[in-house]
Symmetry: C2
């Protein structure tokens, strides 16, 4: 059984997340009308050729007019200006949400521009890949993944429930928390891991004693996992670090302290300290697999190469 | 066409690498006889029940007697004592190699014990998964991956060529370099990435403000990739850090310097510095995919979940 949850959904921005939402709305028949708007004409044309929506708009106000749900699917840094632009066109009673990876700064950026007669429910689907653009979206992106909603204290409960229903209809599990706690959690599970991945890839690229071609050839020994994360969208990630500054700096300080302590253990040959940590971290991996948040397959189940093998005739 | 490259291969240690070599020797008919020896009776029994070899030995000297190839597939820290143990039993003219992730320390550990009439050719297959034990091995592990050989200067060229042939017959590509250069390359492409993965997982586990269950639930946002690496064998990795100390400390210093500079860019809101690095690192990912060292599929081609979807009747 399917049911239309919103009559008109306006998606502002149509990258990986926006296009995955569009595909979900379409395939699961969750929206009466899907209006897509984005800044660049070229991107809008690509979305249209992929048949992601029902109407396509260069004019944001036109897209949101009459929408009972508006979803900003843009880098965090673009939220303030966009909200100012669409605010006058928002229908009374509309729900407005976003998918940004930082919530405190998004609330500060959007709230001042919003009229009192709309429901603002910030959101963040914990799902993604290193790919971007309207071609990157797919139906299963949110399946079995968490979406965090961070409604403000005075927010209409019914609006939160409607948005939660939509995310669950797209396969997600939903958790509600405060914007500040969200930003702290994401700093450690996402933002600092991305930062150190970007950093190690940069360090490797700058070496004089090891060539870039050696780094690439021998990357299967661990490094290549980091390069996937370090291939994520630069604009999106610049904005995340600039807008979740306090929490990132706090977690980064702890990370560096811990790393200095490991460095000392290596310098002084303290094998027990290393072994103890390495045993503890292995258990956390097992918990993640047990919680269904990753595959148990070796190497993430990367496809094994099946070339023509000598001796297999 | 198949051809037996060695009459008797002795595998000392039968974890992920040892068992993958055994499976290759067997399936591709590269050895006349596969002798397997390991310290723990339980592991030896598991290897036997998996039918990995032709003979199984608790006595290392018995395993290597008459072997024209001996491969140490044990943690780096075990190489010295093992070599002392088997040295008297080595056949004249035998090739002895290893698969350790550090080469300088392995040479220092093994060379003093070896008789002059054997050929010592240290080696390191750049292949692995986070899994360990005799059950973890598989035929394709070395396919399209590099194996580095680090022969000493006075080494017999014919022995190096025979070992290179074997690795190529198992699907690997072979590169020859000095032990010191190997250790520098691996420090940046493998050892430091593993250390920072272990470290971030430890930092996350120690937080008071974010619960462990939150870390696990929301791990799909980046963190889970690090946990895979941080689930690697603790003994093996302890030994790597203790034995490749100088190169690891050197690379770690550079990493920390670079990270401090990124931290400063975040603190002072230098978005251009962040954007520039994030753009540069994306290009390196593309080179790794282009070199065939990783899949281009999003999320490493992790299998997408296909649950029963509402609205798909």
């Amino acid at each position: 059984m399917t049911s239309v949850l919103f009559q008109r959904v306006a998606l502002i921005g149509i990258g990986l997340i926006g296009s995955s939402i569009a595909i979900n709305l379409r395939e699961r028949k969750l929206a009466g009308h899907i209006a897509i708007a984005t800044r660049r004409k070229d991107t809008l044309d690509r979305a249209q050729s992929l048949d992601l929506g029902d109407s396509y708009h260069e004019d944001f106000a036109e897209a949101v007019a009459g929408a009972d749900l508006v979803v900003l699917c843009v880098p965090v840094g673009a939220c303030a200006a966009l909200t100012a632009l669409i605010a006058p066109a928002l229908a009374p009673g509309a729900i407005i949400t976003d998918v940004g990876s930082v919530k405190g700064a998004v609330v500060s950026a959007m709230l001042p521009h919003l009229p009192a007669n709309v429901h603002f429910v910030p959101g963040h689907p914990i799902a993604g890949t290193e790919q971007s653009g309207p071609e990157a979206g797919f139906l299963e992106l949110f399946e079995n993944r968490w979406t965090i909603l961070t409604p403000l204290e005075n927010c209409d409960k019914a609006a939160v429930a409607r948005l939660q229903n939509l995310w669950e209809a797209m396969g997600a599990m939903v958790e509600v928390m405060s914007p500040d706690h969200h930003d702290l959690v994401l700093a450690i599970v996402s933002h600092v891991p991305h930062l150190i991945a970007y950093n190690i890839v940069g360090t490797a690229a700058d070496l004089e004693t090891v060539t870039q071609s050696e780094v690439i050839k021998f990357s299967a020994s661990g490094f290549r996992d980091f390069t996937r994360i370090a291939a994520s969208d630069p604009t999106m990630w610049r904005d995340i670090f600039l807008t979740n500054r306090e929490a990132v700096l706090e977690m980064l300080t702890r990370f560096s302290e811990d790393l200095a302590s490991l460095q000392r253990a290596i310098r002084w040959g303290d094998g027990d300290a290393l072994f103890d940590l390495f045993t503890r971290t292995r258990a956390i991996r097992r918990s993640i697999v047990a919680a269904g948040q990753d595959t148990a397959d070796a190497n993430f189940g990367r496809l094994r190469q099946h070339k023509d093998l000598p001796g297999q005739q």
